[in-house]
């Protein structure tokens, strides 16, 4: 695979410039700057809150220094709580171009849009000179998620993605699955796949934490469309979601913003620690996708039965359609037809290999359905996490601790 080499040594498969609003009040200005360049890999991300939050700050640090990102333009209103100079310092330290525009000191909306547009034009030009180098499978990180699930998701697309993950892990690539709230009921069988018994206990604890979180909020990770699609209970949805992880050994647990320290299969624990604050763990699929990307995911594979249309800023989203009726209804939004398994037109193995081949093709610049349609959804909210401990990464905690 050919990759873009960043000054900090990271290798990306896209050459994205991010325009980042640091509070909702700067959102419009940032969008006006980014929108005319939407077909030139200029993506809009940001944080809407005015009050500072360690999690969201770290998320934006990770996203702005992601391997797929070539540079960042920060748009601040001026009076918000976000520490813009610290974010800019972190980005600059990686060698990426970064520029901050403060709307209040630049002279308002029009002047900021004009200055921002000029910076983007120059930076796009500079980004074309990014050196391209060879990238190996062990350098690739792929995240997985399911959204708009129905009762076909757990039979076709999810286990097929699990097969693709097994192939990736065999090649020493890195695979991340997530959403502990969708693993409720699977914790014991999952724990048996941990590389150590201690990690198995951590896996169980992370799912118990999710169950407590959802019980306090009175609502599991279950949308009305799931029931309309034939899923009845959280346990049933969980079993389907769990099959995305494939059958490899589980190497560790990470939290949003943690980069996996080596190849293997990792669980991303997305449910906040401590007492329940700030509301639901993940308010939508794109909040989870942003967290997978903040953990370094170059590519996201996304299974859907009901028919999700989303893509993402920064990393391409490959959509694997579980339901053959949905695929026929909205084929332009899908990359892989996994529902054909139900019609006897393909096996889990064949579709798994097709997904794996698609991952390589997309890494080699092939555009996904959601990229071609211009999808660049992004969502970031308030959360709070404790750092992970050594038992979460039994194989390589030292490597992780040195890098973080």
């Amino acid at each position: 695979m050919k990759a873009f080499l960043r000054p900090d040594g990271k290798k990306g498969i896209r050459n994205v410039i991010v325009v980042v609003y640091l509070v909702e009040c700067a959102h419009h200005v940032a969008r006006e700057i980014a929108f005319p360049f939407r077909d030139q890999e200029v993506h809009l991300i940001g944080f809407t809150g005015c009050y500072p939050n360690h999690y969201s700050h770290r998320m934006l640090e990770r996203l702005c220094t992601h391997p797929n990102v070539a540079g960042a333009l920060l748009i601040s209103l001026g009076c918000e709580g976000f520490n813009r100079s610290q974010l800019a310092t972190t980005i600059r330290a990686t060698g990426r171009p970064v520029h901050t525009l403060v709307i209040q000191s630049t002279g308002g909306t029009r002047k900021t849009i004009a200055e921002g547009t000029k910076w983007i034009q120059e930076t796009i030009q500079a980004a074309t000179a990014t050196p391209q180098v060879e990238m190996e499978m062990h350098e690739l990180i792929v995240g997985t998620i399911c959204g708009g699930s129905d009762a076909t998701s757990g039979i076709t697309a999810n286990p097929a993605m699990g097969r693709a993950f097994d192939l990736l892990v065999e090649k020493n690539g890195t695979a991340i699955f997530e959403e502990t709230g969708e693993l409720i009921g699977c914790e014991q069988i999952m724990a048996a796949r941990a590389v150590t018994p201690e990690l198995g206990q951590e896996l169980i604890r992370s799912v118990e934490k999710a169950a407590r979180h959802y019980t306090v909020l009175g609502h599991g990770s279950f949308a009305p469309g799931n029931a309309d699609g034939g899923l009845t209970t959280q346990e049933e949805k969980s079993m389907g979601a769990y099959s995305k992880s494939g059958s490899s050994k589980i190497s560790g647990i990470i939290k949003p913003g943690d980069i996996p320290p080596g190849g293997g299969l990792y669980l991303l624990d997305v449910v906040p620690d401590g007492e329940v604050r700030f509301g639901f763990a993940n308010i939508n699929d794109n909040a989870e996708i942003a967290e997978l990307i903040a953990c370094g995911s170059h590519i996201i594979i996304f299974s859907t039965g009901r028919g999700s249309v989303v893509g993402s800023a920064i990393s391409p989203v490959i959509k694997v359609c579980a339901n053959p009726e949905t695929f026929r209804r909205m084929p332009e939004d899908m990359d892989v037809d996994a529902g054909r398994i139900l019609e006897g037109k393909g096996s889990l193995e064949e579709v798994g290999q097709e997904i794996y081949a698609k991952i390589i093709a997309v890494a080699n610049r092939e555009r996904t359905a959601s990229e071609l349609l211009g999808h660049q959804e992004f969502s970031l909210t308030y959360k709070s996490f404790e750092p992970i401990g050594p038992s979460c990464l039994p194989l390589n905690y030292q490597t992780y601790a040195m890098a973080h």
Binding site: T152, I155, T233, E235, G305
Partner: protein, 109 residues
């Protein structure tokens, strides 16, 4: 004698322990389906992906899919009927639907 449907099999058993089957295509009421030598006559239409009881299930009995329990029967369920929110409940968390009760009945009433 019921005649088995000549379409694709239509019902899939995911694990030997399971007491529910999955519809692999949308099925019509009155279709006769063969499964492991047993003929099942459908009393209602079943959308793709939905669950059908493979045998009579008592109230309170665990429902098995993928070889693991996915909840408990709310009531007696006879063989060949749809298993969904009206007769199956989670052992963990309540299931949320837009009308606050039974989305399956809403669609098919």
């Amino acid at each position: 004698m019921p005649v088995p449907s000549n379409k694709t099999p239509g019902l899939l058993k995911l694990h030997s322990l399971d007491n529910v089957l999955t519809a692999t295509r949308s099925l019509e009421a009155g279709e006769h389906l063969l499964l492991e030598g047993q003929s099942i006559t459908l009393t209602e239409s079943i959308p793709i992906g939905y669950k059908v009881s493979a045998c009579d299930i008592r109230e309170g009995e665990k429902i098995f899919k993928y070889g693991v329990p996915i909840g408990s029967a709310r009531c007696q369920i006879s063989a060949g009927t749809v298993v969904h929110t009206h007769n199956l409940q989670s052992d963990y968390l309540p299931t949320y639907t837009l009308d606050g009760k039974n989305s399956y009945l809403k669609i098919h009433s």
